[in-house]
């Protein structure tokens, strides 16, 4: 076996690959089952963006908090939320992460530091400032990570939170997942600045842009700014340039894309392929080892789907439960 040229050991690399593959299979399965009409509501898939969530979350523990977006499945899986509970939630079952009352856009697991996917764009940024404030008050070295797309990066909540985090010197990392589209509207048109680094500078914090399809680039950049935040160095912004393999939501015909764009990004910018080829070429991990993980992940997703479909629906009395802690 060749010498490992990567910043992670083999076990960690396998873990990263497994996480990314789990996200991919989870989303591909939802894509298929949504088209069949099995899934209520609407879902926003993270396929193509796996390297970002995984490269960041590898640096976090359960005491660190994240605030996610409408496109939150990948963040959940990378933060350690149970895949069975997620699938059951998306199917609206009582065994779901939120007992079926949240759905795809509101999966949360506070015990894992996952403060919720969020249906309101940009709403996670103030919340994560609060999570980081709580960590700072307790002095427990926890950090908060909030994700926004390039679209929600224009929300006032996000911009106000950049300022607040800088003023209060909070341990927050603002991650802009720039997949080029706010729903159907191009980032080049809707975002007034040329670079998110400029925007970070304007708020008095460092900003870094990385290729979000390169797991190692995300991992290394995130590691540095997360360490800095953890050590009291204050907030930072990380822009991950990435690609979205599906539409804004399932059912989106994506007529706004250029001809051949989807085929091109799948062929050249698939973060899973990029990671696989790197580790195989370096001789650190064998193709057969990755394929073994693929089989295990497929079985996991199959089992989660089967279990979700078989799980009981919420009871009618659940309609009125849990509005308040105390009535």
């Amino acid at each position: 076996m060749a010498q490992n040229p990567f910043p992670l050991g083999k076990d960690e690399l396998l873990k990263a690959y497994r996480t990314m593959r789990t996200i991919r299979e989870f989303e591909e399965r939802l894509h298929v089952d949504f088209a069949k009409g099995d899934i209520p509501g609407f879902v926003h898939l993270y396929a193509g963006e796996e390297a970002c969530a995984t490269g960041i979350m590898m640096h976090l523990n359960d005491n660190d908090r994240i605030a996610s977006t409408h496109r939150g499945h990948g963040h959940c899986i990378a933060k350690g939320v149970d895949v069975h509970a997620m699938m059951a939630e998306i199917y609206g079952r009582s065994t779901g992460a939120c007992r079926g009352k949240g759905g795809s856009m509101h999966i949360a697991d506070l015990s894992k530091g996952m403060m919720g996917a969020n249906g309101i764009l940009g709403a996670g940024a103030p919340l994560i400032c609060g999570a980081a404030l709580a960590a700072k008050v307790r002095g427990d070295r926890g950090v908060g990570i909030t994700f926004v797309g390039d679209g929600a990066s224009n929300q006032g909540t996000f911009l106000e939170s950049l300022n607040l985090a800088a003023v209060w010197n909070l341990p927050v990392v603002f991650v802009v997942e720039n997949n080029g589209y706010a729903e159907s509207t191009a980032m080049e048109w809707a975002v007034s600045c040329d670079s998110y680094v400029d925007r970070a500078t304007g708020f008095g914090m460092p900003g870094v842009t990385v290729d979000g399809t390169d797991f190692f680039a995300v991992y290394e950049a995130a590691g540095e700014i997360i360490r800095r935040a953890r050590d009291g160095g204050g907030p930072a912004l990380l822009e991950c340039n990435m690609v979205r393999f599906y539409g804004h939501f399932e059912g989106d015909a994506q007529t706004y894309r250029a001809k051949g764009e989807l085929e091109a990004i799948r062929a050249s910018r698939d973060c899973l392929t990029i990671l696989s080829e790197r580790v195989i070429e370096a001789g650190v991990i064998g193709r057969d080892e990755l394929q073994a993980i693929d089989r295990e992940v497929n079985a996991l997703i199959e089992d989660a789907t089967r279990a979700a479909k078989a799980a009981p629906l919420p009871a009618p009395e659940d309609l009125l439960r849990d509005v308040y802690v105390a009535y």
Partner: protein
């Protein structure tokens, strides 16, 4: 030990006592310390009207000035609550709710339900409400019906210093998000308040005056107008029962219905605008649950369906007066009461 203090002092005292009791209680807001980063005194303001004055000296950095950035810091209070702190965030004037309401009604209010009963968000958003301060249309509203409409929020509006202290202590200890509405024209009003700590449970209205002829229900400033009206009515031999709701979510339906079943007549007074407010809510509830007891149509006395005017002469007409409340009570007592409509 009990002594006379103002509602403003009572709120300050509640914050002080809870910060002493529980290290997870933090207080944040615009200028609640005052002068942060400036060259002059520490604790320069203690809030725009001095409600938090002196707390910084006692509790230091647990009082945090914020940038003028309501969405960010109200959301931060909500996020910190979801992560184990008990933040009290001052939203100077609750009219500013429009800037940050998403963090309250889409986030704080929904976490528990939306996350399957697994979240607690013990945050208190407190701030000024109400007209009569010559503060004009954007600093004077009684927006309580916006808050009571939202499941997951608790809504409190005290009418006096004693209640303000006990209800704020309960609000901070409560594990649900609470909107604590402080009528700015009551800040200076004094009453006997114990020095020690006490909590007033939510959902328990206060019967301020017993009477068998007509029930008057209100909250906040107009409770005092209702008491004035009751005194006027008593001169004519009419005894009004006056109920101060104290909390609007939850609301004490039992006390209202029990009273109406005895008096057969109801006047509901609300400083909010007339559509879909507490008055309409209570009238509807009584109509559905105590219709048989009613001897006359329910009278609703509210602010008009207008923004709050600036001109003092107009603003004085805006807030329900003791005279209008007394007139409404007399309508329920007139032979035509059963068919009357609001004046």
């Amino acid at each position: 030990m009990s002594r006379k203090i103002s509602m403003k002092q009572a709120i300050n005292e509640a914050l002080d006592l809870e910060m002493r009791r529980d290290p997870t209680v933090i207080v944040m807001g615009e200028d609640i310390v005052g002068g942060t980063g400036a060259q002059g005194e520490d604790d320069a303001w203690g809030g725009v009207l001095g409600v938090t004055k002196g707390l910084y000296a006692k509790h230091g950095d647990r009082l945090m000035d914020t940038p003028l950035s309501e969405s960010a810091y109200i959301g931060a209070a909500v996020g910190a609550a979801a992560c184990g702190l008990r933040p009290v965030a001052e939203l100077m004037f609750l009219d500013f709710m429009g800037v940050c309401f998403d963090q309250i009604f889409n986030q704080a209010a929904k976490f528990r339900y939306m996350f399957g009963g697994k979240a607690e968000t013990p945050v208190v958003i407190r701030g000024m409400v109400g007209a009569g301060f010559r503060a004009a249309a954007q600093h004077s509203q009684m927006l309580t019906p916006l808050f009571t409409h939202i499941p997951g929020l608790k809504v409190v509006c005290p009418s006096n210093a004693y209640d303000a202290k006990g209800l704020l202590i309960q609000s901070i200890r409560d594990n649900d998000p609470v909107i604590f509405c402080e009528h700015k024209n009551l800040y200076g009003l004094e009453c006997e308040v114990p020095a020690e700590s006490y909590a007033i449970p939510f959902g328990e209205a206060n019967v301020l005056r017993d009477g068998d002829d007509v029930t008057i229900v209100s909250y906040g400033l107009t409770v005092h107008r209702a008491m004035e009206a009751a005194a006027t009515l008593a001169k004519d031999g009419t005894e009004a029962e006056v109920i101060d709701l104290r909390t609007l979510s939850p609301i004490d339906w039992d006390t209202i219905v029990e009273s109406v079943e005895r008096t057969g007549r109801l006047v509901v007074v609300d400083e909010a605008h007339p559509r879909c407010n507490l008055a309409t809510d209570i009238a509807a509830f009584v109509g559905q649950n105590a219709f048989g007891a009613l001897k006359a149509g329910v009278q609703m006395v509210t602010a008009p369906h207008t923004p709050v005017p600036f001109a003092p002469s107009l603003e004085d007409l805006y807030v329900p007066s003791a005279d209008t409340i007394a007139a409404a009570a007399r309508r329920t007592l007139s032979p035509k009461g059963a068919r009357s409509i609001a004046a």
